[in-house]
Assembly symmetry: C3
Homo-oligomer: 327 residues x 3
């Protein structure tokens, strides 16, 4: 896990005590069990559990094996609530709506009207007063660098680039008209619209020596981060959704789209216009042919093609068969 200080990006509007949280849910609250009280200073995910935080829980979790001191769990599953190992837990009616209620009350985030930042025009771009950019890095024209953003050494940020809610390491090149740290497309299918999108309070991390092409969009994580590994090369008009993690040395051709929470290994090669369904695990050294539609996990060293993507040799046999059928 990479650590970052969420408060640099999204300010806490008010520090609540654990015992105060349940009231915030109003009609969504069912019941609550708080054993000790504490300040809520951050949010945890299952991947990254922090003291003095809350954690939205919708799946099995071993409350005994993990250190859960000063963590407030929120769940919509009574079976989880009834597990006595959870010392501090709230049962709510709808986890997704409860997320929206709580996050909107606690955090000032980019999609809420109380969000603010302060910009200074430096050279020809708008740079937040709360951004840190190494003097060796170059920012071209009409860029926007938002608060909390850190840009390391020897980076080149070209023109009309928007970087918000992101940490950019060293020797990174980001080409024109790309947007980083944009809002992830997270929601409940039953409640739609801008005001019901889930607040996204994670970030984007671009590691050393990444090349990002033009017109790309990289959404920030919901809680943790979207990550692009070292020495990865990404072509133009690529979309990378929230929580995606891409290993080192990736090569991703133009117009590919990677849905939310996909985890990709090291040394992958992905052709143009490929698409990935959400929550997949893609192994190391995988090659995905252009225009593939990947719908299942892929093990290390695989070469896949087609939609739904399959072993490329099988796909080629399918194509030959189809051609014959066409006569």
């Amino acid at each position: 896990m990479y650590e970052f200080n969420r408060n640099n990006f999204f300010s806490i509007k008010k520090i609540y005590r654990a015992t105060e949280i349940s009231k915030l849910f109003e009609k969504k609250l069912i019941k609550t069990r708080i054993t000790n009280d504490f300040d809520i200073l951050d949010i945890s995910s299952l991947k990254n559990i922090k003291k003095n935080s809350f954690l939205f829980l919708d799946q099995e979790f071993d409350a005994k094996k993990n250190n859960i001191a000063n963590i407030l769990f929120i769940t919509e599953k009574e079976i989880i609530f009834n597990n006595p190992n959870f010392e501090n837990i709230i049962l709510v009616k709808n986890l997704n709506e409860s997320w929206n209620i709580l996050l909107n009350l606690i955090y000032s985030h980019e999609d809420s009207s109380d969000y603010s930042d302060e910009f200074t025009k430096i050279d020809n771009s708008y740079i937040s007063k709360y951004a840190k950019i190494d003097a060796s890095s170059k920012i071209y024209n009409n860029c926007v660098i938002g608060k909390g953003v850190e840009i390391g050494k020897n980076c080149i940020i070209k023109n009309n680039v928007v970087i918000k809610n992101s940490l950019v390491k060293n020797n990174v090149v980001i080409c024109d008209n790309s947007s980083l740290g944009t809002t992830g497309f997270g929601f409940d299918y039953k409640k739609r619209g801008a005001s019901d999108l889930n607040p996204q309070i994670g970030i984007v991390i671009i590691d050393d020596n990444v090349h990002l092409g033009s017109g790309c969009t990289i959404d920030r994580g919901k809680i943790d981060y979207t990550y692009i590994g070292k020495n990865s090369m990404i072509d133009n008009l690529v979309h990378i959704a929230h929580n995606v993690e891409i290993g080192d040395n990736a090569c991703i051709a133009a117009q590919t789209g990677i849905s939310g929470s996909v985890i990709i290994g090291n040394n992958v090669t992905i052709g143009g216009q490929a698409g990935f369904a959400g929550h997949l695990k893609i192994g190391d050294n995988v090659v995905v042919a252009a225009k593939s539609g990947v719908t299942k996990n892929i093990v290390d060293n695989s070469v896949v093609a087609g939609f739904p993507a399959t072993d490329i040799k099988k796909w080629k046999r399918q194509i030959i068969k189809q051609k014959k059928d066409g006569y």
Copy 2:
């Protein structure tokens, strides 16, 4: 139909009388029949007929059932011209070229060299003197808001967003690097090039509580408008062409493209990288799987997948068969 004042966006260069119009076509004119003379103040479409306007007619139209007083019809079909129910009608050689001639003479539009707008720098964006933005809405950095544009209450327009020729209602969020009100891709296949593109003098309407992602493009209507219904959520790098109308509560994933004049019902869910051929009708509650290529109308409550898109159960059977063929 939603009404808007076209003159707020595209100024009329000269108000012609109906009897003056035929001369403008020069060599494209075949014959003319004007029963009464009147000022030409606007343009009609078959969906939205207005008095004191002209209407380009290329299909059957019941001149008796509709109120055609003070409407000047222009057609390339002699059978339409010969219908005596049309009181004011012009027969031309080529309807598409006649569109270009007439629109370029009457309107100053965004793709003509005589177009102009006046911008003021407000905060860090360029706002037209002729745009109206509610004080409760926020415009971030490097945006351009063109003339005639109205933005309602509590909207968030992020960075490097271009909004022209558009009405944006309330509680709308538009993310970084998106472009609204851009020029529709309308033309005659036989005459190509920037100077032969059809002038597009409609607008874009974004209704309440819409979320539009980053890097999207929404073209304005040719005569009327491109419309995004209430509570719709659109992900990144989505292309929506001219005259498309999308109902309420749509959910459209990244990199999807919707061709011109597609009409989509309420509550649709569309996966990423899907594509729609032009002029289709898509019903309510339709689900379109990712990477689908929709080539035909889809009735209410359908779930489709594949290219050409078909019922998802049939598509899955096809896939199983193809996999077997691959062995």
Copy 3:
């Protein structure tokens, strides 16, 4: 071939003599044979051979038939080096790495930290002091026009457009948020990352009366240029890679992607979301249906569809067969 002065875009840091070049390769150098010495003033490609230049050679080349006076060849193939017809030639260990070494030493290019340009704010855009824009052309807001760029007569460059390393002829319209002259995605699969991308020192040429939509990306050539022919119309979110050449009167619908070095004839019509593999030759008057994946050369007057793209009649028969299989 269209001629351009590379120095207008990418300045030579130092003029080397042919005899000095071999030392620059350091450990990559194997051996060298220099018959006469001369100044290295430019780079040649096999398409465009210039005196007083170097030429990276990885394929057969008739050194007798071509005028090779004052050309320094660089190759990694001993069989080429051993051909005595090459008067001035260097044998290196890795042609791709040698490209990077030499280009980074000789040229200050956009992806190197020593690159610089000087901008003046004119109206509401940043224009390089070294760009030439005809007074009859309009540049809207928040654009960036880089050094060496020339824009001809009666062009309309809309908002937030980035044009670098490009020659734009007359009557061209470029819509909002598009990027021209961006960095091509050229590299060796074995060495990845921003610092190992091949320096790209070619340009983009947009010929007369081209319409380019919104959110497009057009990469510059590696040595020569990416070219869009007269009267071509390109829709939104289209990606055109380095070295692509498109003939006159092309019509390319939204979200299509064309990989590097594809050569396309005149009068082609390409549907939306189509993709082209690299290095293909596409004939005149070809029609490529939407969502096609073109993997092979296409002869004149063909109509193709599907992935891999095939004759559209065959494709339709395949589809009918697949549908039957789905029952």
